[in-house]
């Protein structure tokens, strides 16, 4: 049997969607994840495809239990995203979505680092289109910042890969582990895409600026490819336990005071990835299983939450908690589906988050990290507050904004319903998911102690919210920007450049004044060349550029012979 890498199907379909008429395009959009899923189901966990190009062994397809699970997940996510965006009449966006999903599949089935790098970059490029497609100035700028950071991540990955290749002579992507400079570069590349603390801001900056449907795709793929890559390359790296613990805790503070509800979900996503990173860092069978299972569940429940907020944005044109409220009156179905997503992310027993997050929690205590465990417990209470309560409460309940709107289009409702059914199904019958995990599962999710403890934690968190809200202590939703790490590159750096620019020009002015006084003939000569009628002015800036390039080339030639 010919082994067909899953990305080929998606790339082929993306080209057809871009060229064929709308109706046919819709059929292809729907058929792609279904056909791809069928092909994947026929694959065994040892399939491989290798190419030898110029003495390099490239492996565009390497199937094992880990990549297979992410493969299934990405097909489900692509299907949900496609159904949710079926009403779109935007070929570029539909086509970019398929290319993006295909690149994520290419990345998880890549058996070598060079192939991984290739898809890593295409992933960045195609996903940026989902941000640009919002067609606002804000989105354009956020998209450029996003793309820049993603390309830097790719650059680090390439540099690390080439150095690793020189050291070991192999491009194969297996366990890497920290220790050398090359592995550090790759770790950093994965860390950027995984939204490590201080490297996280691209996510909360760009995702909320993407289109209604684009954010649903974005939330599924990029960060989960990074979690996969960490699980493959850096499982058992202790630093990840602490990095992950910080990731679970700091974003929830931002989520509490953030007004844009999709940005709240973006912060919440970093919090959820934190749990996965901790699991990968512990590296035991239970912990890695928990991390991977949680990645699987998170794609679906975060997708559901993003879809429900997308539906609200689509119908009302608003996304700020302060402008919304009371929508349960006119969008009861969307409200219910959103609450299912909220219960899942909060890890209520019988909803999907519970069966996977608790594995990580148990593993943390088993491995003797009580402080990290307390941090994760704090984050668990926090996620219930900001994603479980805040999202549905401020969008659908709270004060009545007076907005009355119909339910979203049928395709959106169907996509959200499928996601909600999956959340409840996995939450009540986790054994199918467990059977697909990389290691054998001996974990009992519905143990009385766990269930009771989880209910106590959550219900008392809800009580705290209710008390603070009623007593008026709870901070109101406000129109505002909360500064984060991005302040350094969106405010400090541009201001510094401006200041240096001003300094240079004022020094230049002072120098010119001095020269005018001292040496008028030199100034006249400068004016002759650079003035409005001057030789160099006529062709500026290309003329001078060519001149300087020539000078640089000459200099490099001289240096070469030295």
């Amino acid at each position: 049997m010919i082994e067909l890498p899953p990305f080929v199907i998606f790339y082929g379909a993306a080209i057809m969607v871009a060229l064929l008429p709308h109706r046919l395009g819709q059929v292809i959009l729907l058929a792609t994840p279904l056909a791809g899923g069928l092909v994947l189901l026929g694959m065994t966990a040892d399939a491989t495809l290798q190419w030898n190009i110029m003495n390099l062994v490239l492996e565009p397809l390497r199937v094992d239990r880990l990549s297979l699970l992410f493969g299934y997940l990405f097909h489900i996510a692509a299907f949900l995203g496609v159904v949710f965006s079926l009403h779109l009449r935007d070929r570029l966006q539909s086509s970019a979505s398929l290319l993006y999903a295909g690149s994520a599949l290419g990345a998880v089935f890549a058996g070598d680092l060079l192939t991984l790098f290739f898809f890593w970059e295409i992933l960045a490029l195609t996903s940026a289109f989902l941000i640009f497609a919002r067609k606002t100035e804000r989105a354009r700028r956020a998209g450029i910042r996003y793309l820049f950071i993603q390309v830097v991540s790719g650059g680090l990955l390439l540099a690390g890969t080439l150095m690793l290749y020189r050291e070991s002579g192999s491009l194969a992507f297996n366990h890497i582990g920290l220790g050398t400079f090359a592995s550090g570069l790759i770790f950093l590349a994965f860390g950027i895409k995984c939204a490590f603390p201080l490297l996280h801001n691209w996510l909360t900056d760009a995702y909320p600026e993407a289109t209604v449907t684009g954010t649903v795709f974005l939330s599924a793929f990029t960060t989960k490819v990074a979690v996969y890559a960490l699980a493959r390359g850096f499982a058992g790296t202790e630093a990840l336990v602490y990095i992950g613990a910080v990731m679970t805790c700091f974003p929830i503070f931002y989520a509490v005071i953030e007004n844009d509800l999709r940005r709240v979900l973006a912060y919440s996503m970093i919090n959820q990835i934190g749990f996965m990173v901790v699991g990968v860092g512990l590296g035991t069978a239970l912990a890695v299983n928990g991390a991977i299972a949680h990645a699987f569940n998170e794609v679906i429940f975060k997708g559901l939450l993003m879809m429900s907020m997308g539906a609200v944005l689509y119908r009302t044109g608003k996304m700020n908690g302060s402008d919304l409220g009371g929508l349960y009156k006119s969008m009861p179905i969307t409200t219910t589906l959103c609450i299912v997503g909220a219960a899942s992310i909060s890890a209520f027993p019988l909803f999907s988050g519970f069966v996977s997050k608790s594995m990580v929690m148990v593993a943390v205590l088993d491995e003797g990290h009580p402080v990290v465990w307390l941090a994760l417990l704090f984050a668990s209470a926090g996620v219930f507050h900001h994603a479980g309560i805040k999202i549905p409460f401020f969008a659908f309940f709270a004060h009545d904004s007076g907005i009355r709107t119909p339910e979203p289009p049928l395709n959106m409702l169907i996509a959200m319903s499928i996601a909600a059914i999956l959340c409840v199904f996995i939450g009540s019958y986790p054994w199918l998911l467990y059977s697909l995990l990389p290691f054998e599962v001996n974990y009992v999710p519905f143990d009385r102690s766990h269930v009771l403890a989880q209910f106590q934690l959550l219900v008392f968190s809800a009580a705290a919210f209710a008390w603070l809200k009623i007593s008026g202590i709870y901070p109101p939703e406000l129109h505002a920007t909360n500064i984060d790490v991005e302040w350094f590159y969106r405010r400090l750096a541009p201001r510094a450049v401006q200041r240096v620019g001003r300094l240079v020009s004022s020094t230049g002015d002072a120098a010119a004044r001095a020269l005018r006084g001292g040496n008028k003939s030199l100034m006249r000569s400068v004016f002759r060349h650079y003035g409005p009628e001057g030789t160099l002015a006529r062709t500026w800036p290309t003329g001078s550029m060519v001149l300087w390039v020539a000078v640089l080339l000459a200099a490099s030639l001289v240096l070469y012979y030295l």
């Binding site: 910042r145 349960y328 219900v459 009580a463 705290a464 603070l468 901070p475 920007t481 405010r491």
Partner: protein
């Protein structure tokens, strides 16, 4: 035409939800004295550990976040024109 009354337009319904929440809190707290929870870490064994932790965690989270606004919050158009 006046809009029909919705579920939470009636303050009595909101109050019932709150009473239900308090009742569930009471039951869950009492459950710690009835059932034995098996534990891995000694902290977990404390009576009402998860309940008290959940309540305090959520309160601390919100109060700290509220304080953070004092030095993190800027106008909505803060970055406009900068980048």
């Amino acid at each position: 035409m006046p809009e029909k009354k919705h579920l939470f337009d009636d303050p009595r319904n909101v109050r019932s939800v709150l009473w239900a929440l308090i009742a569930v809190c009471g039951l869950l707290f009492a459950a710690d004295f009835i059932f034995h929870r098996h534990v891995v870490h000694p902290w977990e064994a404390l009576w009402g550990f998860y309940a008290v932790f959940g309540f305090i965690a959520c309160t601390v989270l919100i109060l700290v976040a509220k304080e953070m606004r004092k030095f993190l919050m800027r106008k909505e158009d803060y970055y406009d024109g900068d980048d």
